[in-house]
Symmetry: C2
Subunit: 232 residues, 2 copies
DNA sequence: CAATCAAAATGACTTTTGTCATATATTTGA
DNA sequence: TCAAATATATGACAAAAGTCATTTTGATTG
């Protein structure tokens, strides 16, 4: 077990389910949680398993993905500081429908199933936050479905690059601050690795992005937005 | 306003959020709801709008869809007896992300936003049911994402036919009991209408389905399952 | 700091899917 | 019930995306 993380950080984060939780509620969670770490590449939860608790990510980045035909990964979304992991399966009382793997060394709080339900029951505010959160995710999933069904690969790639940039921000040199292989990008976009590589070259030639090894920086967001046809 | 519907029907239905609700809770809802009807083809909720309440479908069938590029529909899922409509947007406090249109004459109960929140606050059981429901939907959405990203059109069509059959059942002649055009099926599968028509012909020639006009009946489920590669 | 390994890049080719045109069949509603 | 409208069906072709093979580049580590 690791050194305990400070739950108040999550309480302050507006996107967290613990946002605005009462001191009592926060205290309750602090008592029930334990702290764990995962190395880069380590599997945190495994598709098909029955989960025994939820994780609240304290620091690090995690990919959430399902395994399709022939074990091909489909990345559903990313999970990072303040986000919860594993709650879907526990709340719907179904086997885990998506696996999660750490993209970098990750620290998290673990809250056992029974404790999680206790917190939900004792804190209507938290319960409503969870409801809001899952409804928000549901809307995002709907957008992803429409995008996969109706856009071509280049449009989807442009969209994903914009999402990655706004989710993870940029490093000092302007590159998107996440370490993904072209294959992993392909697994988000829902296409072949070669197609992603080809289209990244194309976008680079068009001057919309630049790249150095696996790292990518956006150079012309508005054109990318136009390609992605994200009118929002 | 229509003749009032009996809420006990929803209470008894295991898939409904009102399942197992206390007599008090049920009574509270009965007081707050009004009853409404929609003609076939009528739009019930409209993408981008701000919803003022939720609908509980009493009888009828509704398609839920987002509008993609050039106004093309992407059907996300169907909503039928006992199901709620419009709650996602209200709970996540975002504009409606999907439109809903009645596929046949539909009767529903309307619960205004404020009443809906009141019921959630007064009935922890209902609140937890809603949470379970949205988490279940989230799992289904994840499956749909993987399917769209990794399966080819024929596999997805086979999958959709199996889903339609189990969701809506069959009429006396064995046809799937829902009235959809080939275009609407294409809008679920995420492909062109012609592709759906061609593949339906193909499946018919292979003896896996039969069809009469727009109606379709499954003849060989296990082969369809194999094509859909649904190992479950 | 090289040697090794893994990932990115690119070309050639195949398959799948989409588009457009047109013929045939089925619904629908007056 | 019959005509008009709508949907299904099919062919020909075009475009998009996937697969396989190979080269080049970048990352890793003893």
């Amino acid at each position: 077990m690791d050194t305990p993380h400070n739950c108040q950080l999550c309480q302050k984060q507006p996107t967290s389910a613990f946002h605005d939780l009462s001191a009592d509620g926060l205290n309750e969670i602090s008592q029930l949680k334990t702290c764990v770490s995962f190395k880069k590449g380590q599997v945190i939860i495994h598709e098909g398993a029955r989960p025994q608790g939820v994780y609240c990510i304290h620091r690090g980045k995690v990919k959430l993905y399902t395994l399709g035909t022939e074990g091909k990964e489909q990345i559903i979304r990313f999970i990072t500081s303040g986000d919860l992991l594993g709650y879907r399966s526990i709340l719907s009382d179904e086997p885990i429908s998506a696996s999660a793997t750490a993209l970098e060394d990750t620290h998290a709080c673990y809250i056992p199933k029974s404790s999680f339900f206790k917190v939900i029951q004792d804190n209507p505010k938290f319960s409503l936050n969870m409801l809001k959160l899952s409804c928000h995710e549901l809307g995002e999933a709907g957008k992803m479905i429409t995008s996969l069904a109706q856009k071509n690969v280049k449009e989807r790639l442009a969209e994903i690059l914009l999402i990655l940039n706004s989710t993870f921000g940029e490093d000092e040199e302007g590159y998107i601050d996440i370490n993904l292989t072209r294959e992993e990008i392909a697994n988000m976009v829902g296409t072949a690795t070669e197609s992603v590589i080809r289209l990244i070259s194309e976008l680079r030639k068009e001057g919309l992005i630049r790249s150095k090894g696996k790292r990518i920086a956006l150079e012309n967001r508005s054109s990318l937005r136009q390609i992605a046809a994200v009118y929002e």
